[in-house]
């Protein structure tokens, strides 16, 4: 992507809400874009501001006065209220995934943004990972033919912040972590029709461990299965996919990625975010895409509908976990650009 600021000499005024783990993935992107960043957080705003040269503010009211775009990087349960407030103030909203804890709340945010005439971007950063973008391009060009059986895996040590484990705050592993691959499943294999899921949590070890397995039947006839684990403290972050179509297979496993080898004396195991391997940050690519969309009024790679849809699938998975039965997706809220359409058009 080209430098985003070429069309303007005025720095974009961005309000970052939240100063936790993921803020460190967003801030370098904003700095690269050349944004003027103010940060508000219940905790850690001063430290984050000092580390990156941002401006810390003491209240949301101070923030609203200073910014045109807000970037919400708080725990999920707060997204709904903060996004609605920002929209009421006429700010464009970038919101970490999941867009909200429920599809109903996510829809409410989307409607509010539409009425207010501001832009809304659910930050599904995995769409900006070159591994996944590359897979989508290959599928769209017909390299593997019709999607058959797709497999996704994402795992790491359990996040240190305990709110991730609190379903009332994060939505749990399905809503918080696996939503990445639920979104990918639909981005790569088209609309999901049915969801079956199982989840297992254990507190028997030194720290809680939770895993879930989600089986998706797509409307096209394709099957996806998605595996998420917040595992033991030594489990490195990794993700993988295996995408089998009727003409070929696409595979990637970050645990087998050999592009960078590092041997240092620092304990580097665990952690729930990717290790920096020097390649361009997908978080930066995502923010640049959103800013472009704001500036030129065009579409970003991820739409509000996509964000709502991902929450819907995660909700269906959680209902399935609860009931022990498969759950049919309701027809409402189709994804914005289903691939089988593209493939169908080409074949």
């Amino acid at each position: 992507m080209k430098a985003v600021m070429s069309s303007s000499t005025t720095p974009l005024r961005v309000g970052l809400i939240g100063a936790g783990g993921i803020s460190h993935a967003h801030v370098p992107g904003w700095l690269e874009i050349g944004a003027d960043v103010s940060v508000y957080s219940l905790a850690g705003a001063e430290g984050l501001a000092a580390q990156y040269g941002l401006t810390a503010v003491d209240s949301l009211d101070q923030l609203w006065d200073r910014v045109e775009v807000v970037d919400i990087v708080t725990p999920t349960a707060t997204h709904h209220e903060l996004a609605l407030e920002a929209i009421r103030r006429g700010k464009h909203v970038i919101c970490e995934k999941p867009l909200a804890l429920s599809a109903a709340e996510a829809v409410e945010i989307e409607h509010a943004a539409a009425i207010a005439g501001v832009r809304l971007f659910p930050a599904h950063v995995v769409r900006y990972f070159p591994q996944f973008a590359g897979a989508r391009a290959a599928i769209a060009s017909g390299r593997i033919g019709r999607p058959g059986v797709f497999r996704f895996r994402r795992q790491s040590a359990a996040p240190a912040a305990s709110w991730f484990f609190d379903e009332a705050i994060s939505g749990g592993i399905v809503m918080d972590q696996m939503i990445h691959d639920l979104d990918q499943a639909e981005w790569l294999a088209g609309p999901v029709g049915r969801v079956f899921a199982r989840l297992r949590r254990s507190d028997a070890g030194p720290s809680p461990v939770v895993t879930a397995q989600v089986v998706l039947d797509h409307e096209s006839g394709a099957i996806s299965h998605v595996h998420g684990a917040w595992g033991n403290s030594a489990l490195p972050f990794s993700y993988s996919f295996d995408l089998a179509g009727d003409r070929g297979v696409l595979r990637y496993d970050s645990a087998r990625d050999d592009g960078v080898r590092l041997a240092i004396g620092i304990q580097s195991s665990g952690g729930y975010l990717p290790v920096d391997d020097g390649s361009p940050s997908p978080y930066t690519a995502e923010l640049i895409d959103f800013v472009h969309a704001i500036r030129d009024g065009g579409e970003a790679r991820v739409s509000p509908a996509d964000g709502i849809r991902a929450v819907r699938i995660a909700e269906a998975a959680m209902r399935s976990i609860e009931s022990g039965l498969p759950v049919d997706m309701d027809a409402g809220g189709q994804p914005s650009d289903a691939l089988p359409t593209l493939i169908g058009a080409q074949r």
Binding site: S202, I223, H227, A244, P326
Partner: protein
């Protein structure tokens, strides 16, 4: 318990499953006399019957009666799946120990009947699950039993391979194979999980499709995922799809990933290989122990020592019960409990 010191007489019933070539090779390491007959209808242009017997160094006899009349100590059944039950039963009735290719049979009733018949006749029944002998799987079992993984919570298994078309079309014939990819590829992972957890499954949900190879006239499922819960609370999935492309460097593979409260371990028993390129494309030269050899070694040792082989016939029933439940789950579109007769 007596041990047999003379050369063992091994009968082979059917060469329908290509594994017989590996077993015949493995038998050469032993002091055995091997004879057999081929059963089933052959695909045009394939090497079967007497010709294949000669190639394998197996004495060829005219029919099943001729094989059993030679009073074999043990019989290897490598028939089409739907013929396992009948042929294994005849061997048992002839007083022979039986190594039966997986899946044990194509119905729970016949599998349970086979185990009962073997016990009644005082012969040993083994199900051919060679992956169980993989050093990486032994390491996984030891690691888990040492407690290093803590309490096991979840398992992800994959067993993907090329579609067995070509010279063995019965694999994709529902009547002769009992089904498609679910029948062919669920049981290996199910066996490993059975050994690891030491408990039979509780309930099974399955989904399957026929997207892969749809243009080749295949009438059975070619892709599928099975989700299993175990009484201890462990959750597991098995991807059994025939998703390895025909032009891949190797036949496919199997992986098992285990997450526990204190550790995680993933094994990929068929990953070891020397790779590269030659004039025809990719090279995949596997190395490591010969799992079929270890399987045959165990079977013959059990026969000689008059003890139960591992894996035995009962695990053949328990793993078949997962396939059976998966097929019933497909029919009712919901999770189903395991057939209680199987556990």
């Amino acid at each position: 318990m007596s041990t047999v010191d003379r050369p063992l007489r091994i009968g082979v019933l059917s060469f329908a499953h290509p594994h017989i070539e590996a077993y015949a090779h493995a038998l050469r390491a032993h002091d055995v006399e091997v004879f057999g007959t081929d059963v089933g209808s052959f695909d045009a242009g394939t090497v079967r019957g007497r010709e294949l017997a000669e190639r394998m160094g197996v004495e060829y006899l005219d029919d099943v009666d001729a094989v059993l009349d030679r009073r074999p100590d043990a019989v290897i059944v490598t028939a089409e799946n739907a013929q396992h039950a009948e042929l294994a039963l005849r061997a048992i009735e002839a007083g022979a120990h039986v190594l039966c290719e997986k899946p044990l049979t194509t119905s729970i009733d016949s599998a349970v009947g086979l185990v009962a018949a073997a016990e009644e006749a005082g012969v040993r029944l083994m199900t051919a699950y060679p992956v169980r002998f993989a050093p990486s799987f032994r390491a996984l079992v030891q690691t888990a039993r040492r407690g290093d993984l803590g309490e096991i919570v979840a398992i992800t298994g994959t067993n993907n391979g090329r579609i067995p078309l070509g010279d063995r079309s019965w694999f994709t014939d529902a009547d002769r194979a009992g089904g498609g990819a679910l029948v062919d590829h669920v049981v290996h992972c199910a066996d490993l999980i059975d050994e690891l957890l030491g408990e039979p499954a509780a309930d099974v949900f399955a989904t399957a499709n026929r997207v892969l190879h749809a243009d080749r006239g295949v009438q059975v499922e070619t892709g599928g995922v099975v989700s299993i819960s175990y009484p201890s609370g462990v959750i597991a999935t098995i991807d059994c799809s025939w998703s390895q492309p025909d032009n891949a460097d190797t036949w496919g593979g199997l992986t098992l990933e285990v997450h526990g409260t204190e550790g995680s371990m993933r094994i990929d028993p068929f990953a070891d290989h020397v790779g590269g390129f030659d004039a025809d494309g990719g090279v995949w030269s596997p190395f490591g122990v010969d799992l079929d050899q270890l399987l045959i070694d165990e079977f013959l040792a059990a026969v000689r020592e008059s003890r139960d082989p591992r894996p035995d016939g009962r695990v053949g029933v328990r793993t078949l019960a997962i396939v059976d439940a998966a097929q019933r789950s497909l029919a009712v579109q919901a999770p189903v409990a395991l057939n209680p007769a199987a556990v």
